[in-house]
C-alpha cells in the first residue's frame, strides 16, 4: 500500500535559499516587458458590462438628439438594469420599438423625447419597457 500525507506548511519552513524557477528562460536576453504584459484594450467589453443581458440596437430618427443620441448611432440596451425615471429606455409602444427617456411627471410615468416636435407618451398598458440604454457607440469615418 502506498500512503501519502499532506501537511500544511508554514511559510517560514520553506527554505529561502533555494532558487525557484518560475518561468523558462530562453538563452539570451529576457524580455524586459515579460512581467508587464497586458491584454489590448477591448472597447466592446468596456461598453457592454453584462453581455448576456445586453443587446445592440441601431437608432433610427432624431427625437433623442437632445440626449446626444443621433440617427444611425449604435446603442447598448440592457435588460438587467431596472428602468427608473431619468433613464433612457427602449420601449415597445403598441409593439413598436421606440427610444425615449423615462420621466415622472405629475406622479405618472412618461416616455419623453429630447428634441422639438415629438410627442410625449404616457406609460400605460400598451407600453412595455424593453430595456435600459447603458452605452452609445458612434464612428465618424
Amino acid at each position: 500500500m502506498m500512503a501519502a500525507t499532506v501537511r500544511e506548511m508554514e511559510w517560514e519552513m520553506i527554505p529561502r535559499d533555494v532558487p525557484i524557477l518560475l518561468c523558462r528562460t530562453p538563452a539570451g536576453f529576457p524580455s524586459p516587458a515579460q512581467d508587464d504584459m497586458e491584454e489590448p484594450i477591448d472597447i466592446g467589453a468596456w461598453l457592454i458590462e453584462k453581455p448576456a443581458a445586453s443587446y445592440l440596437m441601431r437608432v433610427d430618427g432624431h427625437s433623442m438628439t437632445g440626449a446626444g443620441i443621433h440617427d444611425g448611432d449604435l446603442i447598448v440596451v440592457s435588460r438587467a438594469e431596472t428602468p427608473r425615471a431619468g433613464r433612457i429606455v427602449v420601449a415597445l409602444v403598441h409593439g413598436d420599438r421606440t427610444l425615449k427617456r423615462l420621466a415622472r411627471l405629475d406622479g405618472r410615468l412618461w416616455l419623453v423625447p429630447e428634441a422639438e416636435g415629438y410627442p410625449h407618451i404616457i406609460v400605460d398598458e400598451h407600453v412595455e419597457i424593453w430595456g435600459v440604454v447603458t452605452a452609445l457607440a458612434r464612428r465618424f469615418l
Binding site: Y55, M57, V59, S63, L92, R97
Partner: protein, 437 residues
C-alpha cells in the same frame, strides 16, 4: 450507488437536480425581436423550410403537430394567418448562450442537454426553498432574454424531466414542479402515461400496456425484475430513477452517438457531379467537426444521394455507397476523400438529385481507437492542430468560412430558407432598429 450492505436500503439522499426547459424555444427566440409574432399562432420550419419544428401555444391549439410538413398544412396556415419563419440557428444559439449565462451563477453546475434544455445541479442549495430558487432562475432567464421557461425538480434526471413536463402542462404549478414533494410526485405520476416518461418508446409502452402498466406511477411501482424481463436495461434503470435512485438512465437514453448523419435537401436540384461533390464534401467536413466535438472516431462512412421521390413522373435514381475507414478517423480530409470516392463510384448522369447526405457509423471514443502500425504521431498531432484551427474559424465566423479546397466555393445548392429573420444579435448590420421619432 449502494451505500453499504444494510438489509433494508433507504432511498439514497441525493442532491436535487432540476431541468430547465424553454417554452417553444425557437418561437420564443423569434418573438424576442419581432413583436408582431406575439400572441399570434407562429411556427418555425426545419432546415430547408420543410416541416414545423417549433410551434407557439396558439399554433399547437390549432392542431399543428411537431414535424408537420409545410405543404400539408398550407391551408391551415393561410386560413388562420399562422406566422411562419425559417429556422435561424445563429439567433437560437446566441439566446442559448445568454440563458446559460443567466443560470450559471444560480446553480452549482449546468449540463446542457439540448439547445433549449439544461440540467441544473442544485447541490449545496438544498437548505433553500428550491421552488422559490427555481422561480428566481426562471425570472432571471426571462428578464435577460424575454424567453419563458419551466423547471422540474427531482432526485433524478428522469424525475426532473417528468416534473418539467408537468410544469409545462399544468398552469397550477406556475412554471415549477418539485417532484421531491410527495403530493406533487403522486399527482404527476398518476396523470402521466408511461409513454410520457423520458426514454420509454412506443414499442415499450405497448408491451407495458399489456401488463396493465399505463401510468408513470404504475411504472415506478413495477418490480425491477419484471422490468429487466421486459428486455431493456433502459427500462430497469428508468424504474430505479422514477423511485429516486440515480441509475444514469440518461446516459443510456442518449448514449454516445452510435452513428450520425449530415443530410440535407438541395434548394434546387443538382445535375452535375462537381456540384454534388462540393455539397457532399461539405457534409463530410461538418460530420468530422461533429465527431471531433464529441471526441469520437468513425469506422464507416456512407454517402448517399437521390432524386425527388415525390416527383413520380421524373426519372428516379438513388445511390448509396459505404466506405470502410481504416484506420478509424475523425479527420475531415479523410472523410471528404472517402465521400468523394463513394460519389465517383455511384454517380449517374441524367438525373436531378434533390438530396444528399453523409452518414458515419461504428463510432468509438477517440482514445479507445485501435492504433495501427506505422502511425505517424507527429503528423497526427499536426493534422489535429489544423483541424482544430478549422473548427475554431468555422465556429467563430460562421459555418464553412474556412473549407478545404475540394469543397467547392459555389454554393448555389444551398438550403432554402426564405422566411429567415435577421441575425439580430450576432451581426452588427442586422441588429434591431429602434425608432427615435
Amino acid at each position: 450507488m449502494g451505500r453499504g450492505d444494510s438489509a433494508c436500503p433507504a432511498l439514497p439522499v441525493s442532491a436535487p437536480i432540476a431541468l430547465q426547459d424553454a417554452n417553444n424555444f425557437y418561437v420564443s427566440c423569434e418573438r424576442a425581436f419581432d413583436s408582431s409574432l406575439r400572441g399570434v399562432p407562429a411556427i418555425v420550419l426545419s432546415n430547408n423550410d420543410g416541416c414545423a419544428i417549433a410551434r407557439s401555444a396558439e399554433a399547437k391549439a390549432l392542431g399543428i403537430k411537431m414535424g408537420d410538413p409545410l405543404h400539408l398544412i398550407r391551408d391551415k396556415v393561410q386560413k388562420h394567418g399562422i406566422a411562419v419563419r425559417s429556422s435561424n440557428y445563429a439567433l437560437y444559439a446566441d439566446m442559448q448562450r445568454r440563458i446559460l449565462a443567466a443560470i450559471e451563477p444560480l446553480v452549482r453546475d449546468v449540463e446542457i442537454y439540448s439547445i433549449d434544455e439544461n440540467f441544473l445541479d442544485l447541490e449545496g442549495f438544498e437548505d433553500r426553498d428550491l421552488v422559490a430558487h427555481c422561480q428566481e432562475i426562471r425570472a432571471r432567464v426571462e428578464q435577460w432574454t424575454t424567453i419563458p421557461s419551466c423547471v422540474g425538480i427531482g432526485a433524478t434526471k428522469t424525475l426532473a424531466k417528468l416534473g418539467n413536463a408537468a410544469a409545462k402542462k399544468n398552469p397550477l404549478f406556475d412554471g415549477v414542479a418539485d417532484m421531491r414533494d410527495d403530493r406533487v410526485r403522486r399527482w404527476v405520476m398518476d396523470r402521466f402515461a408511461v409513454g410520457d416518461v423520458w426514454g420509454v418508446g412506443s414499442a415499450t409502452a405497448a408491451r407495458l400496456d399489456e401488463l396493465g402498466i399505463r401510468t408513470a406511477g404504475q411504472l415506478a411501482d413495477m418490480q425491477m425484475k419484471a422490468a429487466r424481463g421486459l428486455g431493456t436495461v433502459v427500462l430497469e434503470r428508468l424504474v430505479a430513477e422514477l423511485n429516486g435512485v440515480r441509475a444514469s438512465a440518461v446516459e443510456l437514453v442518449a448514449p454516445q452517438r452510435k452513428g450520425m448523419a449530415v443530410t440535407r435537401s438541395f434548394g434546387k436540384p443538382v445535375t452535375d457531379m462537381e456540384t454534388l461533390m462540393g455539397a457532399v464534401a461539405q457534409y463530410a467536413m461538418r460530420a468530422g467537426e461533429k465527431l471531433r466535438q464529441h471526441g469520437l472516431v468513425a469506422a464507416r462512412l456512407t454517402v448517399f444521394f437521390h432524386t425527388n421521390r415525390h416527383k413520380t413522373g421524373a426519372p428516379q435514381y438513388a445511390a448509396s455507397r459505404t466506405m470502410a475507414l481504416h484506420p478509424m478517423t475523425a479527420d475531415s480530409f479523410e472523410l471528404i476523400a472517402a465521400a468523394r470516392r463513394g460519389v465517383e463510384r455511384s454517380w449517374r448522369d441524367g438525373f436531378a438529385y434533390s438530396k444528399a447526405g453523409v452518414m458515419l457509423d461504428d463510432l468509438l471514443s477517440a482514445d479507445k481507437r485501435p492504433r495501427t502500425l506505422f502511425e505517424d504521431d507527429q503528423a497526427h498531432a499536426k493534422r489535429d492542430r489544423l483541424l482544430g484551427a478549422l473548427d475554431d474559424i468555422n465556429g467563430r465566423f460562421g459555418k464553412f468560412t474556412a473549407v478545404p479546397g475540394v469543397q467547392g466555393f459555389e454554393r448555389n445548392w444551398r438550403l432554402r430558407s426564405e422566411r429567415k429573420s435577421p441575425a439580430w444579435t450576432t451581426r452588427i448590420d442586422e441588429v434591431p432598429r429602434v425608432r427615435a421619432g
